[in-house]
Symmetry: C2
Subunit: 138 residues, 2 copies
DNA sequence: AGGATAATGCAACAATATTGCAAATGAAAA
DNA sequence: TTTTCATTTGCAATATTGTTGCATTATCCT
């Protein structure tokens, strides 16, 4: 596992630091669940707030994590599939957002909906968020 | 039009005030486009910032407007269909977000995608955001 | 081990949003 | 119309989320 972590950083052209390894470990432990800055601060109490912001931004730019937009106040992030790189993300999968506990997870399903848009508009991609209650909230 | 505005407020159990009428007029003028707090402040320069926040929250609670989640920094809102009330919203329609100018509009199409979720999860509704370029951005 | 370069930690600042409370206002009752 | 009073407003204070500048520290390549 330690190898997996540092190899993943190297693969994306990033130096190994304590902060980065701990953040990445936290994402792997989250098991498809999206994490925001406040939650990462709670899980890594000694981590510097600003460095954490920069770590998340760097990870997103380099293709290790992607933003998940679910309407919450703080930006959430989740682990990318292996195929994401600095140059191109492939995070077309849908996400589930629990209305009760606020938890957000990545789903396997890809959003393939075809939607009619006004004349002159061009569609590049679609994002699907499924709202409901998770297994722990009934 | 003035009647339409004050009647709409009354219909949703809200008193008519200058602020509320001006905000509502601004939403009608926006023609299906979602507006956030900074833009409303620009369009209503004399409006008090805090009252504007409370107006938006009240309108959303009472079923006059709904939040539109497009990943932008500030929360965006758009006019609800007539059928939305204090007790229940019906804003299943998809939204378009322009990656170039940041503009977001309500689409006619409803997201009917059926997505597989893990065992024990319950789906209440789905939100579809279409990303691309609008007619003014090529 | 040395040195170039990247990352960190701290301070300062910016943007978005909420809460408490006294004063002003809207609308129903008198 | 005037009175009444709950609602709404405006202002101050505070909270939350996020960014930028810069000196110091750490990583990694040779
Ligand atoms: Mn990705
Ligand atoms: Mn609505
Ligand atoms: Zn839940
Ligand atoms: Zn545009």
């Amino acid at each position: 596992m330690e190898h997996r972590i540092s190899d993943l950083l190297k693969k994306h052209g990033l130096r190994s630091t304590t902060m980065r390894e701990e953040v990445l470990r936290t994402f792997f432990a989250a098991n498809k669940r999206a994490l925001d800055h406040p939650e990462l601060e709670r899980r890594l109490p000694h981590a510097d707030r600003i460095t954490l912001y920069r770590t998340l931004k760097t990870f997103a730019e380099k293709g290790l994590i992607h933003e998940v937009v679910d309407g919450g106040l703080a930006t959430k992030y989740a682990l990318c599939p292996d195929s994401c790189t600095e140059h191109q993300h492939h995070d077309e999968h849908a996400h589930f957002h629990c209305q009760d506990c606020g938890k957000t997870i990545c789903l396997e399903a890809t959003a393939t909906a075809t939607v009619q848009v006004p004349t002159g508009f061009r569609v590049k991609q679609t994002h699907l968020v499924v709202e409901g209650s998770c297994d722990e909230c009934f």
